[in-house]
């Protein structure tokens, strides 16, 4: 064990004399204080204005900790770790933890908000104009930056303002001949184009009244109507239209006797249901195993092919009498310098059946992306093109670190070049490059771009348009979470947890076998 001078100064060495205070010391401390203060001054006022006190407390606490940390002479490792860790926690750890917690809910389309929001949506969504109910001339206006309705009763010419809190009389308003409000004290009247730009907001605004709700009908008329569906807290159910939907807290839906549910639901905790669905639902688990199998093949094939080709070229160039290595090297590295996302799209077009370069060059008429086997071959080929220059670079470097005497000694002892490579060069290369190969595997296992920008997961079989032949777990999950069949965030999150577990497990086993983690324990 090496003795570290910083390890425990008190135990091994006499206490260090206190250092004199230098200019650099002073300047750096003042800079730290200034940055902390600037952060506080910039970030605090919006939080105060929004009234988010917990966030304010966290901000204050964090600033105080940072200021203290850099003013004191203690906690030296923390001084170096904190800057990166703050970003890591805010933008990686927190989102990941939140995603994991989402995996236990039914969060997704139809289950976005809480129960109160669902009830409001159901009630306002079912408002119908009651026969003989009042109709108003509508003018949209802003009060502060909140949208309000200015409602003019066509008979009494009385002006009222309406917002989600209810109706209030307005005095001193000037009403034009069309029945629109021209100006009113305390309100900013919206012009017709301005109102049109906010059409969605206007359609969503509902003003509660004694007998029901006032909603906009177009941009210049508002009608009072009644909600056809009304929530009743006593039975915890929604009634109306001659039916009755009872709240089901297990599903997060209002369900009627026939088992049908209302469209709007709320987010509930579903425990391990999402995980169970992945494993037990026959269609989904069938997909899952198929996709997983192809995913492993894709990652392994990508690593193996890029490494094999990269190493082969590096070995071919690694010869004392080889000429022109510099020019070759530049040509070989070129793919690495091109922007990967753009080249993926170019490859997609080169595999195009009708005017793609590949078919043209070789005189073929293959629908590359239309059949599972050719599509899989194509994406692996594309990934080979993108990945082998990196492998070529690292193998070239690693080869230079292997002394030539070793292979020469093997040759003198009568080993064929193949044996020399197999028994001497390759093992030494693998010692150096295994960590890179493992991380390349982990990267390709989740290589979203390589699939999403080329085959988009296709071709899709006619009977199950959800899963394509080249889909990786990650592209499949992405489609579940954001796809055209409606968002299923909870379910997608549970698959992410599975992906995470799989990759972590494979990498852990691989690392253990190569014992590359030894220095962690040093």
């Amino acid at each position: 064990m090496t003795l570290d001078v910083r390890e425990a100064p008190g135990a091994h060495a006499p206490p260090r004399p206190r250092r004199e205070i230098t200019t650099a010391f002073l300047v750096s401390r003042i800079a730290v204080l200034a940055v902390a203060a600037a952060l506080l001054v910039y970030a605090a006022p919006p939080l105060v204005a929004a009234g988010s006190w917990p966030a304010l407390v966290i901000l204050g606490g964090a600033t105080a900790v940072i200021a203290y940390l850099y003013l004191t002479r203690r906690f030296i490792p923390a001084k170096y770790l904190i800057p990166g860790t703050l970003f890591l926690i805010a933008f990686q750890v927190f989102p990941v933890l939140y995603t994991v917690s989402t995996a236990f809910t039914n969060f997704g389309d139809g289950h976005r908000g809480d129960k109160t929001a669902a009830i409001t949506a159901i009630e306002t969504g079912s408002v119908r104009q009651a026969p003989g109910s009042p109709e108003y001339n509508l003018t949209s206006a802003l009060k502060g930056d909140k949208l309000v309705f200015l409602l003019v009763d066509p008979e009494t010419k009385q002006v009222q303002s309406g917002d989600p809190a209810g109706l209030a009389p307005v005095t001193g308003a000037q009403v034009g001949v069309t029945g629109k409000v021209l100006r009113a004290p305390g309100f900013t009247v919206l012009t017709a184009p301005q109102a049109a730009a906010r059409a969605q907001q206007i359609a969503a605004l509902a003003v509660p009244t004694r007998g029901g709700l006032i909603k906009a009908n177009g941009l210049s008329r508002a009608v009072e109507g009644r909600a056809a569906l009304v929530y009743d807290a006593r039975c915890d159910c929604v009634q109306g239209e001659g039916d009755r939907w009872t709240a089901d807290e297990g599903q997060g839906y209002f369900v009627n006797a026939k088992g049908a549910h209302l469209a709007q639901g709320w987010q509930v905790n579903v425990g391990f249901a999402n995980f169970a669905r992945v494993l037990t639902n026959p269609t989904i688990s069938g997909y899952f195993i198929g996709v997983f199998g192809w995913n492993v093949v894709f990652a392994l094939a990508s690593v193996a092919s890029t490494f094999a080709l990269g190493m082969a070229v590096a070995l071919a160039l690694h010869h004392p009498r080889m000429r022109g290595t510099h020019a070759y090297r530049i040509a070989l590295i070129l793919p690495y310098a091109m922007p990967a996302f753009a080249m993926l799209l170019v490859w997609r077009d080169m595999f195009n059946r009708d005017f793609g370069l590949i078919n043209q060059l070789f005189g073929l008429d293959v629908d590359w992306m239309g059949q599972p086997s050719t599509a899989r071959l194509a994406v692996i080929l594309v990934n080979l093109w993108l990945g082998f220059p990196y492998m070529f670079l690292v193998t070239t470097g690693a080869l230079q670190a292997i002394p030539r005497e070793l292979t020469e000694a093997a040759a003198i002892d009568g080993a064929t070049p193949w044996h020399g490579f197999r028994r001497v060069t390759l093992p030494l290369l693998l010692v150096a490059l295994t960590p890179l190969l493992i991380s390349s595997f982990a990267f390709n296992f989740n290589n979203f771009n390589a699939i999403a920008l080329t085959s988009e997961g296709g071709p899709f079989p006619a009977e199950s348009p959800q899963v394509g032949a080249t889909d990786l777990l990650i592209t499949y999950t992405f489609r579940l979470a954001f796809g055209t069949y409606g968002a299923q965030f909870g379910f997608a999150a549970s698959i992410s947890v599975f992906i995470f577990a799989i990759v972590a497990l494979i990498s852990a086993v691989a690392f253990r076998r190569t014992r590359k983690q030894e220095e962690v324990y040093a």
Partner: protein, 279 residues
């Protein structure tokens, strides 16, 4: 004879490496500018596609180019600094939680981060309300997001390299009365230039190509990066018609990468393997 075989093999691989790029080049100078009319070898020479790119009203290419280069340069510089700090602490200091911290970094990296995109979307919806300068459609917000990944990617590589720099160097400096900050800036940093160059290049290439996050984050045409903007350029039914412009844009996008590559070239090979061959 054997040498000739080597040359043949390398030439074949070079052809494989170069032909898509040749295709892009020929599409970029193709006067018709469509995918269907493009062959492997140029059929005509015109700079029309490049001119279209910079005069187009629909595609503010110059703006995207600036955005991308700015984000990639500054976020790779900042993330380099952050991960260098962390690698220094992990390599040179012994403290409680060191082992756990290193393993945690490795593990967090394996979670498919973009699946957390829903959460990130919600976080930044709030941020946009409170601090519009760091919200959606701003380069600063996207940069903060990229810095979140700074530690995980590079810390291990740099720590591996730092472990190979003899400890006696900084022990000698300590004896001479240097503080930990002086050791970091004056002793360590000059010694790790190769690995800095490599991680800078990797971070730069990674940021230039980053697509998913940026696609969710940047909706406003003026704020887009090259990856997002160019994807929109050949989306849907414009796929054939805009291919020449797209190819021209691809070539121009490679320019900053090649520039950074040439600038850092002399360190690249030694750095890539020095990080790996740490024994």
């Amino acid at each position: 004879m054997r040498l000739a075989l080597r040359h043949v093999f390398v030439l074949v691989v070079c052809a494989f490496a170069v032909f898509p790029i040749l295709f892009v080049f020929s599409a970029a100078i193709n006067p018709l500018g469509t995918l269907a009319s493009t062959d492997l070898l140029p059929t005509g020479a015109s700079l029309g596609n490049f001119a279209d790119l910079f005069t187009s009203d629909r595609y503010p290419f110059a703006r995207w180019f600036l955005n991308s280069t700015f984000i990639a340069l500054s976020s790779s510089f900042a993330s380099l600094l952050l991960s260098m700090f962390a690698a220094y602490a992990f390599s040179r200091m012994r403290f409680r939680g060191r082992r756990v911290g290193l393993l945690a970094l490795l593990l967090i990296q394996m979670f498919p981060q973009f699946l957390a995109i829903v959460t990130i979307f919600m976080i930044f919806t709030r941020v946009t309300e409170l601090y519009p300068a760091f919200g959606f459609n701003t380069v600063w917000g996207l940069m903060l997001l990229y810095l979140g990944g700074a530690l995980g990617v590079n810390t291990w590589l740099m720590k591996g390299f730092l472990d190979t720099v003899p400890k006696e160097l900084d022990e000698a400096a300590t004896v001479d009365g240097a503080t930990h900050a002086q050791i970091f800036w004056r002793v360590i940093m000059p010694l790790v230039t190769p690995i800095l160059a490599v991680t800078a290049l990797l971070a730069f290439i990674g940021t230039m190509s980053e697509f998913i996050m940026a696609n969710v984050f940047l909706r406003d045409p003026e704020s887009k990066t090259l990856a997002v903007g160019m994807y929109g350029m050949i989306a849907g039914d414009q796929r054939n018609a805009n291919f020449g412009m797209f190819a021209a844009a691809t070539l121009l996008t490679a320019v900053p990468t090649v520039g950074v590559f040439l600038w850092l070239q002399k360190y690249i090979v030694s750095g890539l393997t020095a990080g790996a061959v740490k024994g």
